[in-house]
């Protein structure tokens, strides 16, 4: 299951969707907005996606994980728009017969998501500036806060 949503992610509901009678272990990774980035105070993160492609890449990641490990269910949910400090931007969950596969696949999915899924975050700093994250040219693209 893959989803993009503008609303807070209901983690309990994601986990419920992963349970199955065959599963013995579920690993869930939750990425949350930190209050600082590279030493600067962060107020919130703002995510945008190339939505149809992001969903396709996420589905492709699920297929790759399913081929590589004996898994039961996978959920990848990414929030878009503004995500305040302490709230979840991404929830990735994997259920499997045993915990080893669940942990390995969950780690794989978040690692590859961060490399390949066309989603971008803009950091909104307490000093009123904002910056796109993850860019080699970060300092060049400061924009004044609207």
């Amino acid at each position: 299951m893959t989803a993009l949503t503008l609303n807070p992610i209901d983690i309990g509901a994601v986990v419920s969707g992963l349970t199955s009678p065959e599963s013995g272990g579920i690993d869930v990774f939750i990425g949350t907005t930190r209050n600082q980035s590279r030493g600067r105070e962060v107020l919130l993160l703002e995510y945008e996606a190339f939505e149809p492609m992001a969903l396709e890449v996420m589905e492709n990641l699920e297929r790759r994980a399913m081929e590589r490990w004996p898994l039961h269910k996978i959920a990848i949910v990414h929030r878009l728009g503004r995500v305040p400090v302490g709230e979840a931007s991404v929830v990735i969950g994997v259920s499997a017969g045993h915990r080893k596969e669940a942990f390995e696949a969950c780690r794989f999915l978040i690692d590859v998501l961060k490399q390949d899924v066309p989603i971008w975050k803009r950091e909104h700093f307490a000093d009123g500036t904002m910056e796109w994250s993850g860019s080699i040219q970060q300092s060049k693209v400061n924009v004044n806060r609207v």
Binding site: E48, F50, V90, I110, L113, D116, I119, W120, W132, S133
Partner: protein
């Protein structure tokens, strides 16, 4: 040949637009970088960190383009 360009995140900010239909002479993905540099020279420094996706799939610079292709300009992703 007409292709539909889509730009995201800081690539969109640098170009000043999110979508545009452009007419390319040499139908390869790499020509998109030349077009972007003509819009804003800062794209030259950026091109190594930008990936292109044609019809929602990542392609390399030599990928041949076809009339009507949607070419997405993907700056370094930062989801998660």
């Amino acid at each position: 040949m007409k292709i539909r360009l889509r730009l995201f995140a800081n690539a969109r900010d640098l170009a000043g637009f999110a979508e545009k239909t452009v007419d390319l002479q040499h139908p390869r993905a790499s020509e998109v970088f030349e077009y972007l540099a003509s819009v804003n020279p800062e794209f030259r420094e950026w091109s190594r960190s930008i990936r292109l996706a044609v019809n929602r799939r990542y392609v390399d610079d030599a990928h041949p383009l076809q009339e009507g292709d949607e070419v997405a300009v993907i700056p370094p992703v930062s989801g998660g």
